[in-house]
């Protein structure tokens, strides 16, 4: 394989696709940690020049982990539509980029094309797109899913209500749910991250949150984001579950370190379809984020963007109701500062949409990263313009259990007001019936959690 270019008179030679893919990435501390980043901006530019000319078939033939060794690779390759692939395999990455941006190709044309793409192709085209390209191309793609309500419709923005508490106090969590609902948040899911992963505690939270949904007849789904094995036990014991959650990784070895496998997820998916209470047919929820594979030393020498694209390929197998990248969640070792977090957020959102999954984003940061809340607000505006399906709603963005800052109930309401976006239609009708929203805007009654004390 010869992968070479001249740039300003200097020759740049890349030994293989693995190295080329790493060096073509935007600057990320995680790629530097893995020894995969370009040495300097000129080498990055050269890598992008070469990558743009790589034909798609070469990327299919060189997955990040070989087909025989890795079940994530097998899931993605086995699901490929060979007819579509045959039509596009000779395209270069550059041709794919321009095809996606071309105004003659709308969301449904792109969805068909995506059936012939592997994660490595999606990662490659992402690497040669600018931030605006990523936002614009994503805005062309709508992915709609249905559980208790509908997510992903045009000009709609949903919110995941994230009412976490350091000791999983049901009363504390209920109070936060009321606050979120009062701001019109919760249509994506009312999703609690547990501090205690034990069966008894998780079952208690499932009961409590379902109780709120029943009492107020809310067209929304609930979820406790425990380890999937705990949720499966809850499903089998008759607990009310709206969506089944799991964090996933882009390689089999990475998933091993999370204590999961494709077989286990298949089983969870079957159980979800059998026992979850919403109408469906979409019952799964996944979270991802660049760096998790490297963190488990499960990246097989490939860059974090490519591993992230593989997450989406795996998620697609289960037609999830929602998926989100938690883009600044782990810390500065993978995404160092504002620029890196913003770039990764736009990349992940685009890749998820292109893969055909219902993509949201936890726009967030930890306190050891070089960024701040204003920067998060900026990224949320760009992603909302790009048609992101949902954001997180955390009380004033401060999650006191997970110790990081995300987006707030206020942020989601503000984005809706500013960009004329509305909640999921069923949820909007519900908010209107309570008098909390009119014509897509919060009313004077909204923003007061004590409103929900009356039933």
């Amino acid at each position: 394989m010869l992968l070479r270019t001249k740039l300003f008179g200097k020759t740049y030679d890349f030994p293989d696709l693995r190295v080329l893919m790493g060096k073509a990435n935007g600057e990320k501390s995680g790629d530097r940690l893995a020894g995969l980043a370009a040495d300097n901006a000129a080498e990055r530019a050269a890598a992008r020049l070469v990558l743009a000319e790589v034909p798609l078939w070469a990327l299919r033939d060189n997955p990040a982990v070989p087909y025989e060794q890795d079940e994530v690779t097998r899931v993605i390759h086995d699901a490929l539509n060979e007819t579509v692939y045959a039509e596009i395999k000779a395209w270069t990455v550059s041709e794919l980029r321009e095809w996606l941006l071309d105004d003659r190709h709308d969301g449904s044309a792109i969805a068909r094309c995506a059936n012939g793409l592997t994660a490595e192709m999606i990662a490659a085209v992402t690497k040669i797109m600018s931030n605006m390209d990523l936002a614009y191309a994503a805005s062309k793609i709508r992915v709609q899913r249905h559980s208790a309500n509908t997510i992903g419709l045009d000009r709609r923005l949903s919110g995941r209500l994230q009412p976490n508490h350091p000791t999983d106090s049901p009363e504390g969590i209920r109070a936060e749910i009321y606050e979120g609902l009062a701001y019109g948040c919760g249509d994506a899911v009312i999703g609690i991250n547990p501090s205690d992963d034990s069966y008894a505690s998780v079952a208690r939270l499932l009961d409590m949150s379902y109780g709120v949904v029943k009492t107020w007849e809310i067209p929304a789904q609930t979820c406790v984001l425990a380890h999937v094995t705990t949720q499966m036990r809850c499903l089998q014991s008759g607990s009310p579950v709206g969506l089944v959650f799991q964090s996933i990784c882009g390689s089999q070895k990475g998933n091993d370190s999370f204590g999961i496998s494709v077989g286990m997820l298949d089983e969870a998916y079957q159980l979800a379809r059998k026992h979850c209470y919403p109408a469906g047919p979409h019952y799964m929820y996944f979270e991802t984020g660049q760096g998790s594979a490297l963190s488990a030393n499960a990246h097989n020498g490939w860059d974090q963007l490519t591993l992230e694209a593989r997450n989406y390929g795996l998620a697609r197998r289960y037609s999830p109701f929602i998926v989100n990248t938690v883009v600044g969640f782990i810390g500065p070792e993978y995404l160092y500062d504002t620029e890196q977090i913003h770039r990764a957020g736009l990349e992940d959102h685009f890749m998820g949409k292109l893969t055909g999954i219902s993509m949201g984003c936890d726009v967030c940061y930890t306190n050891h990263a070089r960024t701040d809340q204003d920067s998060s607000e900026n990224l949320a505006v760009i992603l909302a313009a790009a048609g992101c399906n949902f954001f997180m709603g955390v009380p004033m963005a401060d999650d006191s259990m997970l110790s990081y800052q995300s987006t707030s109930f206020h942020d989601i309401a503000t984005l809706r007001h500013m960009l004329h976006l509305r909640p999921a239609p069923e949820f909007e009708v519900w908010l209107e019936s309570l008098g909390l929203m009119r014509d897509g805007r919060l009313t004077d009654l909204a923003g007061d959690p004590s409103f929900f004390l009356s039933r």
Partner: protein, 310 residues
């Protein structure tokens, strides 16, 4: 477009603009009257002596727990709701955005959060509790610690030597302490949780290893410790990443016979250990002991232990 249709469109737009102007006009008149301004006691221009801004500390508990909703449906109920969580609820809104006070309290908390990251664990505390310090392979200080988690998961050569010399091998329970992402978390909780664990082990008749402290520590270092000391159960007390305005939260990561190659799937964690709102450190110590005994009985930990219970 045909010419007359274009004409019609233009006329419609003009009509719309005129209508909008007609509505906008009275609004302009509604600007505050001079009397209204006077009532708010704005100082007259030029009277600098009358301008006195002397604020109370908004970070005091009483100020923090004040609601930002002027007319709640249920005022007493609102207070009760706010009391059951440390999350920032009942804060009210300005349009869909935050009220000024809430925004500034958030930004003030964010400012001190960054300070907490630079600290190291007080060596006196370690001496007092009989913990000798060792290090991971991080040599370039906190900044290197943050961007090189791989080094934070490996003991330095000196650490290996020292641990081999000073620690008993093959205990039932080995306790270690790591700074992790918050030295403050270790300082505020260790005095409470360590004695509970030690006393508990003695009562339960479990053979305890020699405890020690690891600077620049990541959870993955448990494998190295396991290889060196072969404990049946290893408990690593470690500082969690700091949250907004709070850096006291500690975790206890635990594993049965940890060894090279083990992952988080083989581990368990008890988290959010802190006084006043989190898992109380005394309780956490008792919980960790019960978990250790379960690991000893089932001879496994992590997801496998979970599956055995199902």
């Amino acid at each position: 477009m045909e010419k007359d249709r274009l004409e019609a469109v233009i006329q419609a737009v003009v009509r719309e603009l005129q209508a909008a102007a007609a509505v906008a006009a009275p609004a302009a008149v509604a600007a505050p009257s001079p009397a209204a301004v006077a009532r708010k006691q704005r100082p007259a221009p030029g009277a600098e002596d009358d301008l006195r801004i002397d604020l109370a500390d908004p970070t005091l508990p009483a100020a923090r727990s004040r609601s930002g909703i002027p007319h709640p449906v249920d005022a007493e109920g609102l207070v009760a709701l706010m009391e059951c969580t440390s999350s920032r609820i009942g804060v009210g809104r300005a349009g869909p955005c935050l009220r000024t006070g809430a925004l500034h309290l958030f930004l003030s908390d964010l400012a001190v959060t960054k300070d907490a990251l630079a600290r190291d664990v007080d060596p006196q505390l370690l001496a007092e509790l009989g913990l000798f310090p060792v290090r991971t392979r991080v040599e370039g200080g906190k900044e290197e610690y943050l961007i090189r988690p791989d080094l934070g998961r490996q003991l330095s050569q000196e650490a290996r030597t020292l641990i081999s010399e000073r620690c008993s091998k093959g205990p039932d329970v080995q306790i270690c302490v790591g700074d992790g992402l918050s030295a403050q978390a270790v300082e505020t909780n260790l005095r409470k949780i360590l004695p509970v664990l030690q006393a508990g082990c003695t009562t339960a008749g479990l053979k305890m290893g020699t405890p020690f402290f690891i600077q620049y520590c990541r959870v993955g270092v448990m494998n190295d410790i396991g290889d060196l000391l072969q404990p049946k159960v290893l408990i690593l007390l470690i500082g969690e990443r700091p949250g907004l305005g709070r850096a006291d939260s500690m975790s206890a990561y635990m594993a049965y016979r940890p060894k090279a190659g083990d992952t988080d799937a083989e581990r368990d964690v008890i988290c959010n250990i802190f006084d006043g709102g989190g898992v109380n450190p005394l309780e956490a110590g008792a919980y960790a002991l019960r978990l250790a005994q379960k690991m000893l009985a089932k001879q496994t930990s992590g997801v496998k232990l979970k599956l055995m219970e199902a």
